[in-house]
Symmetry: C2
Subunit: 114 residues, 2 copies
Amino acid sequence: MKDVIKNRCDHPTADMIYESCRLLEPNISLGTVYRNLKLLADEGDIITLETSDKKIHYDGDISRHSHFICEKCGKIIDLFKPSKLPDELTELGLTVKGEKCIYYGDCTDCTIKN
Amino acid sequence: MKDVIKNRCDHPTADMIYESCRLLEPNISLGTVYRNLKLLADEGDIITLETSDKKIHYDGDISRHSHFICEKCGKIIDLFKPSKLPDELTELGLTVKGEKCIYYGDCTDCTIKN
DNA sequence: ATAATAATAGTAATCATTACTGATAACGAA
DNA sequence: TTCGTTATCAGTAATGATTACTATTATTAT
């Protein structure tokens, strides 16, 4: 299950992961997928992305990076050079353990098309 | 409805907004609240925050700012000095229209308590 | 005033996610 | 091996935030 997520470079939903797992293990149940995803997320082995499509997207890449989501086609693009943390965080005495930065707009393909 | 959200400085859920509205307009229905929230969000009058608590939080402040969410107490803190956009966005030819940066960790109160 | 249109209350439906249940596997001790 | 304990899972039911629908009421224009 962990490998299934780690080996893909997209940001699949539970449903998509379920489909992938069924190729290897045809009898796996959706409940098991959800349970294992929760375990993996709790242990910090994977990351969850709460987007505006009301489905949780999972990311096997736990290195510090951000995301861009195209509002037209829904594509999710990784940004591996995120900006540094706002100074305000330390100024306010906040201990940061994680960040989820999502930028919204039009991807290159959709910009060209319109 | 718009005023109800604009006049509060927290990040209420639809349910909380429903409660607030009922003080002014006791017969308003939850469906109306959801519909109007959707309209306001579509027009860019308010912002939605998809957090890990599976409820949408609404923000009447549409100025550019980020958020910090305490993983212990769930408090949402505004960050009004967000860092600048990653250079990578323009390098990749992406047109940014919005951003939702959420930082997770322990707030000052919760850090002191533990 | 009347017809056309928009907004709303109230409720039913949706659907991603979670919880539950009964069965099966794994493992260790006697 | 046999019994007891524990963990895992498939399958399904329940949950709950959100959305869709419908009948009714307000609003506006003619």
